[in-house]
């Protein structure tokens, strides 16, 4: 009773066709339109002008590399924090009994019942310079300043160069959490955390927890088993979580707009500014393209590298197998 491969192929195509058409129409086509816009000039009344390369020439603004880098760096920080927080959360939820699982998973989604803008606005109040978060922030700054002094010189220079730290002396008046990068990272982590927890939780729910017992049984400490068995076991969920957080974080503009002040302008804000204030759609399109390329190129490289590594691993495994078989044959 073999299935007809042609028939199942056709059935598969029929099932995927609607979503394929949808994606092509509302995703691929607009993406190409955006790309096409970048090869046009703009008109004074906000329209798209004649075919020209002027937009790309305008793009050599000395501000842009730093903004792109800051956007990538902050997105990376946000993603890292989200994953670090989401892993134990997802683990804990997956180990709860059914009733508690539903309650906790529900409460994680609860914030989505309020408007995103309202929630970000609420943070503005919480981050007020007289608030307790400000106090925490300043203590954190003092601690990290103290830690920073302990680092060797080349690392200090690297961190300053990459934008993770600053050389400026600490000053209470100018170190407000509101209108700082820290506020953007904090609130971004808050907003994107559910998007990290959900895919990891979905993977963790399918994870066979008896594997952790097996690891403990064979002599592993709890955290070692978590790291070596649980984390690799839900790798797929972590990958989706990274994508679910990193991609929106790159395009994020509401949070830096409302909480980042002038100290934290990201590419999303620039695109918004060019499109809405300067009414220069081609320029905004070019920035969007630039951002997409700066993400897709490293991603493509990573995928290529991963594929090569997989091929290399399977070749190594084949070699090892051959070695062991030959080894046995030699003894016999």
């Amino acid at each position: 009773m073999k299935e007809n491969p042609l028939r199942s192929k056709r059935a598969e195509a029929a099932v995927t066709l609607p979503s394929f058409v949808w994606l092509a129409l509302f995703f691929a086509v607009p993406a190409f339109i955006v790309l096409a816009f970048t090869f046009h000039g703009h008109t004074a009344n906000g329209g798209v002008g004649e075919w020209s390369l002027s937009t790309w020439r305008e793009l050599v603004d000395p501000d842009y590399p730093a903004i792109v880098w800051n956007t990538l760096r902050i997105s990376f920080e946000v993603t890292l924090w989200c994953i670090i927080l989401a892993l134990p959360c997802a683990y804990a939820i997956a180990r709860m009994n059914k009733r508690w699982r539903a309650i906790v998973a529900g409460s994680i989604m609860l914030p989505f019942w309020t408007s995103f803008v309202v929630r970000v606005f609420a943070w503005k109040t919480m981050l007020h310079p007289d608030g307790w978060l400000q106090t925490c922030y300043f203590s954190w700054l003092k601690v990290s300043d103290w830690l920073f002094d302990w680092l060797p010189g080349f690392m200090q220079r690297f961190l300053v160069w990459a934008g993770f730290a600053s050389n400026a002396p600490l000053d209470a008046a100018s170190s407000t959490i509101l209108d700082s990068e820290a506020a953007v990272v904090l609130v971004s982590v808050y907003s994107f955390l559910p998007f990290a927890i959900m895919p990891i939780y979905t993977a963790a729910e399918k994870f066979d927890f008896s594997l952790l017992e097996a690891a403990r049984d064979l002599g592993a400490k709890g955290f070692y088993a978590f790291r070596k068995i649980f984390v690799p076991g839900i790798r797929q969920g972590i990958v989706s979580a990274v994508l679910m957080v990193f991609i929106p974080a790159i395009g994020s503009y509401v949070i830096p707009q409302m909480l980042g002040g002038t100290n934290c302008v990201l590419i999303g804000n620039k695109i918004f500014m060019r499109a809405m204030q300067n009414r220069n759609i081609p320029h905004a399109s070019a920035l969007a393209t630039l951002m997409a390329v700066s993400v897709l190129v490293p991603l493509g490289m990573a995928m290529y590298w991963k594929k090569r590594q997989n091929a290399r691993t399977s070749r190594r495994l084949e070699r090892e197998t051959a070695r062991m078989i030959v080894g046995r044959g030699g003894e016999a």
Binding site: R216, T321, M324, R328
Partner: protein, 367 residues
């Protein structure tokens, strides 16, 4: 030193209102192949999990080589488990699965390689070493799980129904292999099963567990031939029960008045007195079914009952008969020799004689 190697001392474990393990005391010798045998839900796994360190007893202690291990976490006990679902790490190759405990113990690389390659040789899976568990068959996974648990020479190996997921042929094959592995490594095996065949063929000693209590602890033959309780008699193998009261005693033998049945003669090994109620258990293979009565000189001292054949099931190795005598259904097994030449062919509704020697009945407590 071989005495008191592993000791359960009055161990009790409750889950809410349910007592899964009820005041169990048990001593296992070093190097022994010991089985826990019992029906589903009787607490076998719970006992094993307490030994592995995954459950904590509510009361009682567990000692290993004189050391109290009751409160040690699993990773600090040199006791490894072969899980029923194998629990092989899917993200690691067979080789890395087996090397897991050795790497944790930070053994030198050369030593790890030697040990893993050696045990792979033993389980005959050297050529599968670089596959992932999902690429293995059930029997291969089973062997990897055993190798992984054995490679660093634990003090005790726990096996929780390790063969339950395998088909009959493979199970029989693995039984022989398990036995060989036990002989080879000389490690104490604690084997959990609800399959009496497995327990019988492998174990030095068996503990029959029922409702969290140990009903009998003995060698396989003793458990089969001399069941301590009615439960053991009915759980291990097939048996016929006759309920009755002792009516007279004649030396080593006694006569039992069976309700609605002729008197039965039985060996009175429990020294019961006249008037006591008992259940007499007679195994089917001890009962003969023939068209003619047994020879008279034998007939005087054995139990013979005329009966009528109700059902016959041919099972290759033997044929199983059900016959009624005075409305009691008796099952009997007849092994085959020169089967097709046998002069007697018994068929449905034949009038037959059912008979057995008084020594073949065994008395257990009354219902």
């Amino acid at each position: 030193m071989s005495k008191d190697f592993l000791v359960f001392d009055h161990v009790t474990k409750r889950f809410g209102a349910l007592t899964a393990v009820d005041n169990v005391s048990l001593t296992i010798n070093k190097g022994e192949f010991f089985s826990l045998l019992g029906p589903s839900g009787c607490g076998k796994t719970t006992l094993l999990r307490m030994l592995g360190g995954f459950e904590r007893p509510d009361s009682g202690r567990i000692y290993l080589e004189g050391k109290d291990i009751t409160d040690l976490p699993p990773n600090e006990r040199r006791i490894h488990t072969v899980f029923q679902n194998y629990a092989l790490f899917p993200t690691m190759t067979v080789w890395d699965n087996i090397a897991f405990s050795l790497k944790l113990a930070k053994k030198p690389k050369a030593e790890i390689e030697e040990a893993v390659d050696g045990i792979l040789e033993m389980i005959q899976l050297s050529d599968q070493a670089w596959k992932y568990p999902s690429q293995l068959s059930g029997g291969q996974k089973q062997r990897v799980a055993i190798a992984r648990a054995l490679v660093d020479r634990p003090q005790v190996l726990l096996l929780d129904e390790p063969l339950a997921a395998l088909d009959l042929k493979l199970r029989q094959h693995m039984l022989i292999e398990l036995d060989a592995i036990h002989d080879q490594v000389g490690i104490t095996f604690l084997y959990v099963t609800h399959d009496q065949g497995e327990a019988m063929s492998l174990s030095d000693r068996i503990a029959v567990v029922n409702k969290g209590k140990i009903e009998q602890l003995d060698g396989p033959a003793k458990i089969y031939e001399a069941p301590a309780t009615r439960f053991v008699a009915s759980f291990i193998g097939d048996t016929n029960f006759f309920e009755g009261e002792i009516s007279s005693i004649d030396g080593d033998y006694c006569l039992i008045d069976v309700d609605g049945f002729p008197q039965i003669k039985a060996f009175n090994d429990k020294n019961l007195a006249v008037g006591q109620r008992v259940s007499l258990s007679v195994r089917p293979e001890k009962i003969r079914v023939t068209l003619n009565p047994p020879l008279p000189e034998k007939g005087a001292s054995i139990n013979v009952f005329p009966s009528k054949v109700k059902d016959i099931v041919y099972q290759g190795v033997y044929t199983k008969y059900w016959a009624t005598s005075s409305n009691i259904l008796i099952s009997a097994l007849k092994p085959h020799s020169r089967f097709l030449l046998d002069q007697e062919t018994i068929t449905w509704n034949d009038e037959v004689f059912v008979w057995w020697h008084p020594d073949d009945g065994y008395m257990v407590e009354a219902k």
